[in-house]
């Protein structure tokens, strides 16, 4: 049946020919490609593993945008919630990218903390050097990206104090960590200077146990669990993006709480 809305005199078809290049560019560049990307994103939310590269790069761009917004929103003076010592879970929860049987304990006597990058004093630190610095304790929640959490009590050297002692350039962008279990990690300088970011040496008042990062690990209340490397062996202050273990597999880098 003929539509009642069809004009009696249809426009001359040549009008399409006149503007063919414009119409093609509109369709291809803006509408169709944009529509395809959106459609692909929706498909990905259905956990389709065979995702096109374009979608992956689109997602990573969104992730980087999120990182930027989180960094803008980060308040260096705002403290994360703390809890009474009676709520400390003993022992804490173990997690890593491998099972606990593969943990390789670190010898605290021969252990050295290497310091490199934009710092005045690159001398390596011993465990007793770190123990001689002023210590801070905090009872905070460890929040994992997987969805679980627990309350833990940590004691150690505030990272800010350590960075000041080694004469670090506090205007640098990143503080990067290398660990004995090959789990590179890095955080932004603002989070590194936050008062609830520690080079932790103790848990619940006792020396850190082997599975939890002895002799030293990072513990920060302003990041998700995977930003807390254990068995730290080296710290670097840098302006070059250092990335991290899970970050190289697509996890967001900023991962603030």
């Amino acid at each position: 049946m003929r539509s009642r809305f069809r004009p009696d005199l249809p426009p001359d078809a040549s009008v399409l020919d006149d503007h063919k290049p414009l119409i093609r560019s509109l369709e291809r560049r803006s509408l169709i490609r944009g529509g395809l990307s959106l459609g692909a994103l929706v498909m990905l939310t259905g956990c389709d593993v065979k995702r096109p590269e374009a979608v992956e790069s689109a997602l990573l761009a969104i992730s980087r945008f999120n990182d930027g917004v989180q960094a803008l929103l980060f308040d260096p003076n705002k403290l994360a919630p703390t809890y009474p010592a009676s709520m400390i879970l003993r022992p804490p929860k173990f997690n890593a990218y491998y099972d606990v049987m593969d943990v390789k304990p670190v010898n605290g006597v021969t252990w050295r903390l290497e310091v490199s990058g934009l710092v005045a004093d690159k001398r390596a630190w011993t465990l007793s050097d770190l123990q001689a610095l002023p210590q801070t304790s905090m009872v905070i929640k460890h929040i994992c990206v997987e969805g679980w959490s627990y309350i833990g009590g940590w004691t150690g050297v505030p990272l800010r104090l350590f960075l000041e002692r080694v004469g670090a350039d506090l205007r640098a962008k990143y503080v990067a960590f290398k660990t004995a279990d090959n789990y590179p990690s890095s955080i932004d300088m603002a989070s590194a200077l936050h008062p609830q970011t520690l080079l932790a040496l103790k848990y619940g008042g006792d020396t850190l146990a082997d599975p939890f990062g002895y002799p030293m690990r990072l513990r920060t209340a302003v990041k998700l669990g995977y930003k807390n490397p254990k068995w730290v062996a080296a710290i670097e202050v840098t302006n070059k993006y250092p990335g991290g273990y899970w970050e190289s597999l697509g996890f967001p880098w900023f991962a603030g709480i």
Binding site: L41, V42, L44, T45, C47, V49, R51, L59, I62, S63, F65, N66, V69, L89, R90, P91, P92, K93, F94, N95, A96, Y97, Y98, D99, V100, M101, D102, V103, V145, E146, W148, Y150, A209, D210, P211, W246, L249, G250, F251, P252
Partner: protein
């Protein structure tokens, strides 16, 4: 912001799922053949834990779905001096459970959760109902050692 975050979060879950699936040794593997419970426990960095802190905790199956097998009712020493965790086992919605005594070396701690890794639910169903005669309660303030595992999910 919200509309942008949704696909981002879902994408992240997709990445995480792929990454976790690569784990060679999920948290609840039973001990390798030929290895005793105590030997395999030693490889899992047994950690001190207060007996009173274990009471009432959920006991899970070491599988991704983490089914609840029961709850810790008490901790006892059997006739041989071995530490056993008495679990209110089975039942439905907390009804119809019965206590069974499981060796502490057959268990792992995952933060707040406990898993029985060395015994299958089928084996546990054949356990006799726990009888306190001949056993002694381990006081709440006693520190015992329990091995660890990474989460099963």
């Amino acid at each position: 912001m919200v509309s942008l975050r949704l696909p981002f979060v879902c994408g992240m879950i997709a990445f995480a799922g792929a990454a976790l699936a690569q784990s060679a040794t999920p948290g609840g593997m039973p001990p390798p053949p030929g290895m005793s419970l105590a030997e395999s426990a030693a490889m899992r960095f047994p950690q001190p834990v207060r007996v009173g802190d274990l009471l009432g905790r959920e006991v899970l199956r070491p599988v991704e779905s983490q089914e609840v097998l029961g709850r810790v009712r008490r901790v006892v020493r059997d006739q041989n001096g071995q530490i056993m965790v008495v679990v209110d086992f089975g039942g439905f919605l907390g009804f119809g459970t019965r206590p069974i005594a499981v060796p502490v070396d057959a268990m792992v701690l995952l933060g707040q959760d406990i898993e029985i890794v060395a015994l299958t639910p089928k084996q546990l169903r054949q356990f006799p109902t726990f009888s306190p005669s001949g056993t002694t309660d381990v006081p709440d303030d006693t520190i015992i050692k329990v091995r660890l595992a990474k989460p099963s999910h």
